[in-house]
């Protein structure tokens, strides 16, 4: 039922129902097909098309028309697309292909006709396909090769007619014309007998040897001699035989065949031959072959004594997915050079038996999940160069003197992806070893002593993810030839790289990623002048120190991703940029603040050099977290520079203004007072700001300094001075009281030794004190003009006490002190003025 395919009447009925809707959808001028490469490649899969859409341009080279109900192909269907090289017509319900259907496609290289229930194929159907190299006609209702009109396709290289109804292997005469043919698949057909003469045409034919796939045919008999004198490149006979006897007899029928590769076996889900018994492969003794592949064969009951009997002259044997648990017998004088057992069932490395393959050069036992032991060693295999025991479950102690004693010329040893390997006395290992691979197997006894000291020729060492901790700087001693060292996923003492690689002067590639590194000593790379490729990613390094990397003169590739780098210094950038062609700094913890502006400018210029640049993201400041470094706006930083400049200059101006205010405080004050509309104290006319008590002997100071500064400065004050302001003809005392105290707001006493000596001064000071007491306000401003000793002070009642309890002004002959003095004095004089002024306004 299934075989009837898509084109059963019911389907066509369904399709005819659906068609109107779809044709409505695809109406209009737009191209219904997917344009994969404009002008060249179009995919029109499953669009219910009945012909090549008119919108496909004539330049198209690749056209996928699969799953469209084309129904039949008349002549000249593809004249609109003459440049086609690839045409897929899979499941197009093609029942007839008329003559000259592909006439215009002289460039067509691949024609796919899979899944079409062909009923009629015109004898000139493929006429014009003068460049055709691949013809895929799988599941196309073909009954015989002779019916296939392909005799003129001289360029054909691959013919796949699998899954058809072909019953006879007879290769028609026209095969002599197909001089380019390399591959013929007749898989899943109905070939059950192969008899003499059917392949004779191959003997006459010139050209490359053919790969012939006959798998999944139910072959019952092969007549002896059918393959006599036939030369093939490859013959595939998987799941062809129904039982042991048929298989054994049929293989006898291969006698006389010469083939480069013979593939026998079955499939995972098809187990037909009940058991491997002795003699099954006897027929192969008559077959000349280079390589034998035995794949997916389940039933071995240890009757394998004859397994290798007829494989003596084969140079390569591959066993894939065999339930083979041991090697029972190996004949002498075998020529096998390469043996591979993948997915086999060995429990222990069958070293003793395999040692009988004296010419063995390459031995691979891989992906065998039951393989856990390696106890017995190889003996006397002088040619063995490659030993690959990777991807098993081995746990063993590697004593070379035991296990590898017989392999003196071993060059490559692969023990990767196993369980546990304990290293013991490695000095006995074959010292010609060039490569050693332990990755992803746990290594014991490594990391404290220079175990590989004698491997002076070793160029490749992989100990990645072997749970090794490097405790000693001496671990790699002796590896003078080492060019590649991969040791990702291990750890170092103190999580830092010291002089571990001092002697590895030939090293070209070093992988120390994922090693929990916190720091790298500046001498670590001192001798690695040939290092080209360094992977130090996935560590916890915070800096990329230019001094550390300076000795790496040959470095071109550096992977520093997934570390904790915040930025790169200018010197580091300079030292890197000249040498590197590949630099990965992604997934670091970049500090995207304007402090590192030059670094980000550099990043934007190095898009060629920097890998995964889109994954270079900021980690600080918080508002920039996870923002790509590329999106970091440099103009923001420039803006803030101007901002800084502006604010600095504003601060300067403010300071200047404050200075000016300080300097011209009194001028301003005066100006404000004037501007506020109130008249100055001069309005009062008869009122003074202060009455100056001083000795006549200090009159010079009063005249030159006090009067000049206070009366002529800003704001101007009016002082009452006895020699100038006392009214003549009035007793001195009345003048003192009337003009002095009563008309003045304040009293300035100029204290000096003369002042203390003067009786009038004493008198005036005492009146001032009592006046201050009566008025109840602070009114006396003391100016100490010169130091007066205590004894003198005591002579004047209350002076010394007054000086002790009140602040007074001291006159000093220095510029700075003078400046302070005058400011203080002015402030003191101003104090009453406000009050005064308010009083004036009230009046």
């Amino acid at each position: 039922m299934l075989r009837r395919g898509v084109c059963s009447p019911s389907t066509l009925f369904t399709l005819s129902l659906v068609m109107p809707f779809l044709s409505q959808c695809s109406a209009g001028n737009f191209n219904p097909c997917l344009e994969v490469v404009p002008g060249l490649t179009y995919r029109c899969m499953d669009l219910n098309l009945s012909r090549v859409p008119a919108e496909i341009p004539p330049s198209t080279q690749n056209l996928d028309l699969s799953f469209n109900p084309l129904g039949s192909l008349g002549s000249n269907n593809f004249s609109a697309v003459p440049a086609l090289k690839f045409l897929d017509l899979a499941r197009c319900c093609l029942q007839t292909i008329e003559n000259y259907a592909f006439e215009d496609l002289c460039n067509l290289s691949t024609l796919i006709l899979t899944g079409n229930p062909l009923r009629y194929l015109g004898p000139s159907a493929f006429f014009g396909l003068s460049s055709l190299r691949r013809l895929i006609a799988v599941e196309t209702n073909i009954f015989s090769l002779a019916d296939l009109p392909i005799r003129h396709l001289h360029t054909l290289e691959e013919l796949n007619v699998g899954n058809n109804h072909i019953e006879s292997l007879t290769l028609p005469k026209y095969f002599t014309n197909l001089t380019s043919l390399r591959f013929l698949s007749l898989q899943s057909n109905r070939i059950s007998y192969i008899s003499k003469g059917q392949l004779d045409v191959l003997q006459e034919r010139k050209g490359p040897y053919l790969t012939l796939v006959l798998s999944l045919n139910d072959i019952k008999y092969i007549q002896p001699g059918a393959f006599e004198g036939i030369q093939l490149h490859e013959l595939s006979l998987r799941a062809c035989f129904n039982n042991f006897t048929v298989m054994k007899d049929c293989l006898q029928g291969l006698a006389g065949l010469q083939v480069n590769r013979l593939i026998l076996g079955e499939f995972r889900n098809i187990w037909r031959v009940e058991n491997f018994q002795n003699g099954l492969l006897d027929g192969l003794c008559q077959v000349q072959m280079q390589e034998f592949v035995f794949i997916c064969f389940k039933r071995f009951k240890n009757n394998t004594d004859t397994l290798f009997e007829c494989l003596l002259d084969v140079s390569t044997i591959r066993f894939v997915d065999l339930y083979l648990s041991q090697v029972s017998a190996v004949p002498e004088f075998s020529q096998v050079q390469s043996l591979e057992c993948k997915l086999c069932k060995f429990g222990e490395v069958p070293a003793v038996k395999l040692s009988l393959f004296k010419k063995l050069r390459v031995l691979r036992i891989t992906k065998s999940k039951y393989l856990t032991n390696f106890v017995k060693g190889f003996k006397d295999l002088p040619s063995l160069e490659v030993l690959d025991l990777s991807e098993n479950e081995l746990s063993f102690t590697m004593r070379c003197s035991f296990l590898l004693a017989g392999t003196p010329n071993l060059r490559h040893l692969n023990l990767s992806f196993n369980n546990l390997i304990t290293l013991k006395d490695p000095f006995s290992c074959p010292n010609g070893l060039l490569s050693l691979d332990f990755q992803h197997s746990i290594l014991k006894n490594f990391g404290t002593i220079p175990l590989f000291r004698f491997f002076t020729n070793l160029t490749y060492l992989d100990i990645s993810y072997t749970s090794v901790q490097i405790l000693c700087e001496c671990v790699f001693w002796g590896l003078e030839s080492l060019q590649v060292l991969k040791m990702a996923g291990n750890s170092f003492k103190d999580n830092s790289l010291a002089n571990n690689f001092r002697n590895l002067t030939q090293l070209r590639t070093l992988d120390v990623s994922n090693c929990k590194l916190l720091q790298v000593s500046s001498s670590t790379f001192a001798n690695l002048r040939n290092l080209r490729d360094l992977n130090i990613s996935n560590n916890r390094l915070k800096t990329l120190d230019s001094m550390t990397f300076l000795p790496l003169q040959a470095l071109t590739v550096l992977d520093f991703s997934n570390n904790q780098l915040t930025f790169l210094t200018h010197t580091a950038l300079k030292s890197l940029i000249d040498r590197l062609i590949y630099l990965d700094l992604s997934h670091n913890m970049f500090d995207c603040s304007c402090t590192h502006l030059s670094f980000f400018e550099w990043v934007k210029k190095q898009k060629q050099l920097l890998q995964n640049i889109e994954r270079m993201v900021c980690s600080s400041p918080v508002n920039m977290k996870n923002v790509s470094v590329l999106n970091f706006d440099l103009s923001n930083c420039q803006l803030s520079i101007t901002l800084v400049a502006v604010s600095a200059s504003m601060a300067l101006v403010a300071v200047l203004i404050m200075f000016l205010i300080y300097k011209y405080y009194f001028h301003l004050y005066y100006a404000v007072v004037l501007l506020s509309g109130c008249k100055h104290s001069s309005e009062r006319g008869d009122t003074y700001d202060a009455f100056v008590i001083h000795s006549s002997k200090d009159v010079d100071w009063v005249k030159e300094e006090l009067v000049k500064t206070i009366e002529e400065g800003v704001p101007p004050f009016r002082l009452c001075i006895h020699y100038r302001d006392f009214v003549p003809g009035v007793p001195i005392v009345s003048n003192i009281v009337q003009e002095g105290f009563l008309s003045s707001r304040k009293v300035i006493a100029v204290i000096s030794s003369h002042f203390l000596e003067s009786q009038w001064c004493k008198f005036e000071f005492e009146i001032a004190q009592s006046w201050q007491f009566v008025e109840g306000k602070a009114g006396i401003i003391l100016i100490v003009l010169e130091e007066v000793d205590k004894a003198m002070q005591r002579r004047l009642l209350g002076l010394s006490r007054y000086l002790r309890r009140n602040t007074y002004l001291e006159w000093k002959d220095k510029e700075v002190s003078k400046h302070v003095f005058w400011r203080q004095l002015r402030t003191a004089l101003l104090d009453g003025k406000t009050w005064n002024h308010e009083e004036v306004r009230l009046m």
């Binding site: 369904t14 796919i112 899979t114 799988v138 499939f267 889900n269």
Partner: protein
């Protein structure tokens, strides 16, 4: 015969909606398995010979589909999803260039794929409860060959081994 008609109907289901119908594989008192194709291109057919086999760790299954892509390589990806969260992922290569294990390896786009045979669950214990197993098959070009969500309601009590 009924099976074949069902397969045919599934294969030929008109390609109009992107939602494929849910098919029932098993419906017993304690076990219900449904599946639904999540490949927008097509549905596929799937059946288990006997639902009671599920506790025996080896199932005989039948599956059929029309290949929309060639499968020179075929990789299986399984995801066990409980409450919308993937709790287990498993992947296996079914067809590799130098190791085509199954007979369908190497089949071409447009060919029918019909698999009939045992599937071993290995040591995997089929969990109880309600969950989804998402199955995906991709080819060498990472194109989806098959995509399906199996909804499993399993309340069976297994005898303790």
């Amino acid at each position: 015969m009924v099976n074949a008609v069902f397969l045919l109907l599934v294969l030929l289901y008109p390609n109009l909606s992107t939602e494929w119908p849910t098919h029932t594989v098993c419906k017993e008192d304690n076990l219900e398995i449904d599946y639904k194709s999540c490949d927008p291109l097509q549905d596929f057919a799937f059946s288990i010979d006997s639902c009671s086999e599920i506790s025996s760790h080896t199932l005989n299954i039948r599956a059929a589909m029309l290949l929309r892509h060639s499968i020179n390589e075929l990789h299986l990806k399984l995801n066990l999803i409980i409450n919308g969260r993937s709790v287990l992922a498993y992947s296996e290569s079914l067809c590799e260039p130098d190791h085509p294990k199954f007979l369908f390896c190497g089949k071409k786009k447009g060919e029918h794929l019909y698999y009939e045979g045992p599937v071993s669950l290995g040591n995997f214990e089929v969990p109880q409860g309600d969950y989804v197993v998402a199955v995906k098959l991709v080819n060498e070009d990472r194109l989806t060959v098959l995509c399906a969500d199996f909804t499993i309601k399993n309340n069976q009590d297994y005898p303790f081994p």
